[in-house]
Symmetry: D2
Subunit: 335 residues, 4 copies
């Protein structure tokens, strides 16, 4: 058994981590913490009553290092890097679910804040297993991608080699409300979002540069990424509808199958994907079709799992030399 | 008072017509029919009990002509043109909510079926008041646009002069389930669509040629329209997110304001639009923003009202020489 | 035209009042206020853009009295009575939507706070038109019932004469989330209530004594009222399922019809009622059936309209000597 | 490993069985069938692609007996008893999810149809483990209770000894739409139930006699059960609000704790229960509070799991001499 810690156990992604680690055959949840501590996991999450019972500590790096080999950080950005730096120096491997290690320094500082752990930033590996598996195997620090880049990149990366140079990519993303977290706001008030849908931060959203950076990182292609997120009346799930132009006509499903046929957590679909079939799982379902050289790609994930917690667990599996699929949810919440 | 008839009173758009005509200061609802008749409007729609009471006849053109000056046809395509032809020959003006008179002959026959009323097709006017107002004033036969083309065209037409030649338009449309009508299908089963979202008929949808045709009709510009409709867990409302490329940088809100400032039923918004603010009304709310020469347009309508019944009533107002806004709903269902 | 004022225009019930008064044929909205003022009605409620345009003042009693004959108070309890007292002394009639004048002094102070306007409390009339119409006609001050007592009392009052003495009444009420108001709370977070339902404040809820008091007031019968409200994933609408025991077997629908056949805003239904058929209207739909001497009553209203704003407007109509139904919404939001 | 069969694999409860049996450490899914066969499980349920792959046969009793020791029947009533009879005669243990073996002969025939397997009816055990565990251990045939009786009985049985004689029980049940199955009907159309709630078959529902029979069976108390089911806009989950009268005042939570403290799948809650905390699990959460001798009980289950498939699996565990909790879901879908 490999002892693991979850830092930031009170939010939605923290809860999902607790649920999966508690059922994992090799990981042993030995430490859970929040910024305040002094509670129990079943008090924080009443659905865990009679299921998981353990104390929740006030987060402390040395205490983590005393008992755990790997730590999941489900913390806000900025807080995460302060904590990660200490853990790494104490010999604990880190899967960070925040934005702190996902970007190159200049991109990060342009869109977030000054970086406070430049020492470790260079060794962080982007935790999208389908495209960074080998690097993740050797990593001490994995920057787990968020839901928007995960669904977007898995959908569009296979088509970058065929993309027409100089043309923009348009990503129309639709997210369930759990993506906005537990925080109270007018936007997450039931009456605001029920029977409603709307775009927010269109085009200016900071996931656009992250997506563009990873496209370049993988294919050395500059891409103009136009990202428009929408909030929709659904608790969990994310659908990305991606539009781009191709150099010449191709068979989009064939391209997807070549990239993903052997992948355990990507399913290439013959018809447009939906979020119900992936909710509760680590799957990314993808469909694509073209109108001449105009391409439409549709990708679906569970925003809290493939877009956060289960992908983090896959990364921990890989970092630990375990089977990638070990303890990872595959059964959707359907119906 | 002007006597009017509603043919096809059992569906959602028929019900909306009944509700609005019953409250209209000048139109007098003298005849309502379905394909079967022998019922009453309050039996078909129990919410009308103690509100509207009238018999529902088996649809018959001569009976309409005996009592009404204008008829609304809320019938399936193909059925509609058979009925419209008779009404026109009997001197009744027609607002047809089906697809039968919306398209040029060749476009119609390529996407629907052989046309059975070529005699009147040439005189039909496309009922998008903001762009065809003068023609509607003189029309005997108005082809009322459906929800997808209405929301799409109102959003994108102002930008066609600035569109970069040879680049595609991408329309990512999200529709509430009432757009699929009352018919039972796996798609409209609550369990299928609740907590879900998915594209259907992507790119191949037959509204794409309708949109392209109207773009050409108004601006003599060939446009490659890629239309992807999505079904979302909402009863009524439609959001169209439109992506296109511009010849050069422009101020998108300024363009919209120039076109729409004096329009009574289009609101140019400074922030992304939502469907709640238009549900229950004839408004189309529009927002746009650009990233260099990449343009994002967001338009919202009530699919059953501006996308069908209230737009039909506006057309009837114009055809009758009445004030365009007379009896047209402006108060949204918010909250 | 009768000039009216709306104090508390920023909440859901304030918005509904603005929408209805703006369309009312005899009332003229001359004054709208919030506790802060310095805005406009269309800025507070963007759905009113191009529909209603007027300044929103900082609430001031003298300013109201200068221009208006009737004032609607959509304020929190306690705040309301302070304001109402001043308005009444300045000669303005008041429809108060808060709890401040609904109860006898001792009941009020046991469940809310010390009463600060005992001077006017004795003259307040309970604004349930079907049972207090004659008193409302002569009232200067009407205490508008809330949504729970309205739906409960309209359902159960007709059966009080037949109720078995000494047996309890059970009211299982289900409310849409708009009933909780605009305030942010964990309960109104979308993720909390979507795909969920739960009781809150069961049995201890302070609407129970209000219902019991009105039963006594009307029939001089002591009733043990057990009231259990539930929150359900719906924006607007309320369903009350009421269970009670009868002295002997009766025909429940006949009882309802005798009481309500001539009422313009109560519909006795032959099948169980739903909230869709009343949402957007002032109707209360009621159904009842019995199993021997066990009675089940089902009543449905729009919580924001019949449960607040449209009932307030009916009361204002009656207080002003107008036709009770004038300008009151009857067309449901169906579908 | 114990080989098991699932007959009726195309519906919602069939799917849930497949998902759980596929993950069960001791049961081995060797046979899946529908009435038509000739397909695969992943074709019937696309969410199982890359997860479970197996053929789906045309249901045949001998084929089941050739390979399986236990069979789950997820079939309509009437069809089920025909199939169960054959399986039992061939030596296969049966967990029947239909109504066919739940009731005494006379009760069944009064509410369903003539019984066609009287030979086995007498040996059927009612599969509510908390109250029939010892009999289930020895049973060859378990009649799995449906969702309404499960949630109702678990809530009210502990209070039957304290119930006031001669007083009625009122059960106000609220069900998610998945309880109505996959069948298309006006009731399950998204537009009918979204933003809506309504009672159906009030008081006359055939689950009332089932509940009354089990009360008598366990406590020899005649009870007048008034059962009113409601359909609400939620996919899965059921909440039963139960109202009854007590002989004298008691501490309801203490009563519940005495009955259920050692039960692995019942949680006594200190605050009103919700369905989110049980969705995805076999838990029944229960809360109760009293107003003098008026009692309110609130119980919540996942209608497809504790109300059907996971309870069936618990029964199969017990019938097979396995640990009752083996492979039974405990982690809720929260958030």
């Amino acid at each position: 058994m490999i002892p693991v810690a979850i830092i930031g156990a009170s939010g939605y992604t923290g809860l999902e981590l607790v649920k999966m680690v508690a059922q994992h055959p090799t990981f042993d949840l030995v430490y859970a913490a929040t910024s305040e501590g002094e509670t129990t996991i079943q008090a924080l999450h009443p659905s865990l009553e009679k299921v998981v019972s353990m104390p929740v500590e006030k987060a402390d790096a040395q205490s983590v290092a005393d008992v755990a080999k790997i730590a999941f950080l489900a913390l806000p950005h900025k807080t995460a890097m302060g904590f990660a730096a200490k853990l790494l120096d104490l010999g604990v491997k880190v899967v960070d679910l925040s934005a702190d290690y996902r970007l190159r320094l200049e991109t990060y500082e342009a869109h977030y804040c000054p970086h406070e752990d430049k020492a470790h930033l260079h060794e962080a590996v982007y935790g999208l297993p389908e495209f960074y598996r080998e690097k993740i195997e050797k990593a001490r620090l994995v920057a787990n991608p968020g839901c928007y880049p995960t669904a977007s990149l898995l959908g569009l990366l296979p088509f970058i080699p065929a993309m027409k140079r100089g043309t923009p990519i348009f990503i129309d993303a639709k997210s369930g409300v759990s993506g906005a977290g537990k925080k109270l706001s007018e936007t997450t008030h039931y009456v605001t979002i029920n029977e409603n849908i709307f775009a927010y931060n269109p085009i200016k959203h900071r996931h656009a540069p992250e997506i563009a950076e990873k496209i370049y990182d993988r294919f050395e292609r500059e891409a103009q990424v136009n990202f428009v997120p929408h909030l929709m009346p659904v608790t969990r799930g994310m659908l990305c509808s991606i539009y781009m132009q191709l150099e010449k006509e191709i068979d989009p499903l064939e391209v997807l199958q070549e990239w993903y046929n052997d992948e355990p957590f990507v399913r290439v679909r013959q018809t447009p994907v939906d979020i119900k079939s992936v909710a509760g799982t680590n799957f990314c379902d993808i469909f694509a079709t073209a109108n001449g050289t105009s391409l439409f790609i549709s990708s679906a994930i569970d925003n809290l799992l493939r877009g956060a917690s289960s992908q983090a667990l896959v990364n921990a599996n890989i970092m630990s030399g375990l089977e990638e699929t070990l303890g990872i949810p595959k059964f959707a919440y359907v119906p």
